[in-house]
């Protein structure tokens, strides 16, 4: 009951309620693991679905993720050691010249909520920095975002750079953002295109086999 309310609070984009409900649930000694999975994560995943169904848009997801984090921040110290076993390592960032990171941030929330280890390089990230990070961190997935037609070409540069440094075969590259699509992904030889944040999580699950 309490946990359902937490899920609903997130869907209703209410961070204060979420915080209160999580506090209450903890007081009632409900298993943090359950609060997280069935409340917070279930909520944010549903938001992801609503987003896919074009019922929610970016602002809604932003508020939902605030609500999510308001609960998550209370819970994570309690369960860190036990369950946050990382499924895979993801590097994410917005390509150079582009500062539109909201979409990327939404992906980050959902991916993080789904239990991945995520390294966020932020926005306007130079091509070199992506490549160097991949070389150093050896992630399983590189997730690239861009909102501008003019900057989407950078994705191509990054993939070419990975090839040159012989890093390409060990990593999956997924891309997203308003101007790109499956066609574009094929053209630049990305492994996958995610049309929205929820889609991105599904893709990551698929290509990392987890």
């Amino acid at each position: 009951m309490d946990i359902d309310k937490i899920k609903e609070a997130i869907i209703e984009l209410n961070d204060r309620d979420t915080k209160e409900l999580v506090a209450n649930a903890l007081k009632k000694n409900i298993d943090p693991q359950e609060i997280l999975e069935k409340g917070l994560i279930a909520g944010i995943k549903e938001v992801g679905n609503l987003f896919t169904r074009k019922e929610y848009f970016v602002p809604e997801v932003l508020l939902a993720s605030e609500a999510f984090y308001s609960g998550f921040n209370m819970i994570s110290p309690l369960i860190k050691s036990q369950i946050l076993k990382k499924k895979a390592k993801i590097v994410i960032g917005v390509v150079g010249g582009d500062i539109h990171d909201i979409g990327k941030n939404i992906v980050k929330v959902l991916v993080e909520a789904s239990g991945y280890d995520i390294i966020d390089l932020g926005k306007d990230v130079a091509t070199e920095k992506f490549i160097n990070t991949v070389a150093r961190e050896k992630p399983n997935v590189l997730a690239l975002s861009s909102l501008l037609t003019t900057t989407m070409m950078r994705m191509n540069d990054i993939i070419k750079g990975l090839e040159q440094r012989k890093l390409r075969s060990n990593i999956k590259v997924i891309i997203g953002g308003a101007p790109v699509n499956q066609d574009f992904a094929n053209k630049i030889k990305a492994d996958a295109y995610g049309k929205d944040a929820a889609d991105a999580v599904r893709l990551i699950e698929k290509i990392t086999g987890a």
Binding site: K54, F57, E60, L63, I99, D101, A178
Partner: protein, 343 residues
């Protein structure tokens, strides 16, 4: 010679509901022009004459039907106080939005002839107009209030405020509208037709409800202002606009430029009152083979010219900077092959 008209004449016929010799062909060749002119991007967006020369070079190279004066959508927000970096080989990048430094009440309406890079646009228009103004229409892209508003703010805060603090958003909108009006005023004086661009109001970003509440009224107000001049106004919203197609009718725009939307659907819904501009996939123009482009553009144009109130063959969004020129040329040739109204 089959081509009878100049681009200017062609556009003129379109906006008085007459069929020109063939449809207008206006792929959104903006910063890509710098590539054609082999010019550093920084020079392109900081120097009006350079911007115009690049555009003229592109016209000479491709022979499309309009000059597009544009670099990026932050132009008004910058003049209102948002800080931008100017990379050499890249478009300006926002560093600090104005509203993270001060309150909306303290933001001043810019003076277009003076502030930041607004004069760059005006100079570019002036130069292009002197050079080709009799033959080619000049289109200057003006960010709509919603887009400017988002460029004035931390985007996340802005979007959250659309739900949490609508009154504050409206204050930002009012100011951005004023700024856009002032800019349009000078653009007209310099000789260009303003195009209203509102990419951040698309359904890729905000809900139709938010579009209706915060973007549409101000697009409409700006278009109303321009209609006082008896000008025909283009509204360009790239990204996904399918959910808001019906709402677009309420903007009062005379021409609407669309991106991710089914062209036939758009024609069905809008072409009684609006001319449709669009909507070739920009990633395709950048990456497809000329053969594929030829085929697909032809299909698009064949559908487009069925639109009752007129059609402009275009790309859904800007032609990406590094697009191979061969592809743009193919786009234009394809459209020229099938886009005829006159025998």
């Amino acid at each position: 010679m089959r081509e009878t008209l100049t681009p200017r004449e062609r556009f003129g016929l379109l906006v008085i509901d007459e069929k020109p010799d063939r449809c207008n062909i206006i792929p959104l060749v903006t910063s890509h022009a710098a590539e054609i002119a082999r010019m550093k991007l920084k020079k392109y967006y900081t120097n009006g004459e350079a911007m115009a020369r690049a555009q003229i070079a592109a016209i000479e190279e491709y022979g499309h039907d309009a000059i597009s004066i544009f670099s990026e959508v932050g132009i008004i927000a910058e003049a209102m106080g948002s800080d931008f970096d100017y990379p050499d080989d890249d478009l300006p990048v926002i560093k600090r939005p104005a509203l993270t430094k001060k309150n909306i009440e303290d933001i001043k309406i810019p003076v277009p002839k003076r502030d930041k890079r607004l004069p760059v646009y005006l100079e570019a228009i002036g130069y292009a107009y002197q050079s080709l103004g009799d033959k080619v229409p000049i289109l200057a892209y003006v960010p709509a209030p919603f887009t400017t508003g988002m460029m004035l703010s931390d985007p996340k805060t802005f979007l959250i405020q659309t739900i949490r603090d609508p009154d504050h958003i409206k204050k930002i909108m009012e100011k951005s509208l004023q700024a856009a009006i002032e800019f349009c005023y000078d653009i007209i004086d310099a000789g260009a037709l303003p195009i209203i661009v509102d990419p951040l109001a698309s359904s890729s970003v905000v809900s139709p409800k938010a579009y209706k509440n915060f973007a549409l009224p101000y697009e409409r107000a700006l278009i109303d202002f321009l209609h006082r001049y008896d000008l025909d106004i283009i509204l360009h919203i790239c990204g996904n606009t399918e959910p808001i197609l019906d709402l677009l009718l309420e903007t009062g725009a005379d021409l609407v430029s669309l991106d991710q939307v089914d062209l036939s659907l758009a024609i069905e819904k809008l072409s009684k009152r609006m001319r449709i501009i669009g909507n070739f996939d920009t990633s395709k123009i950048a990456f497809s083979s000329p053969e594929e482009i030829m085929e697909e553009v032809k299909n698009m144009v064949k559908r487009g010219i069925k639109s009752k109130k007129g059609y402009i063959a275009s790309t859904g969004c800007e032609v990406p900077i590094k697009t191979p020129p061969e592809n743009v040329r193919t786009f234009i040739n394809a459209a020229k092959e099938v886009g005829w109204y006159w025998e």
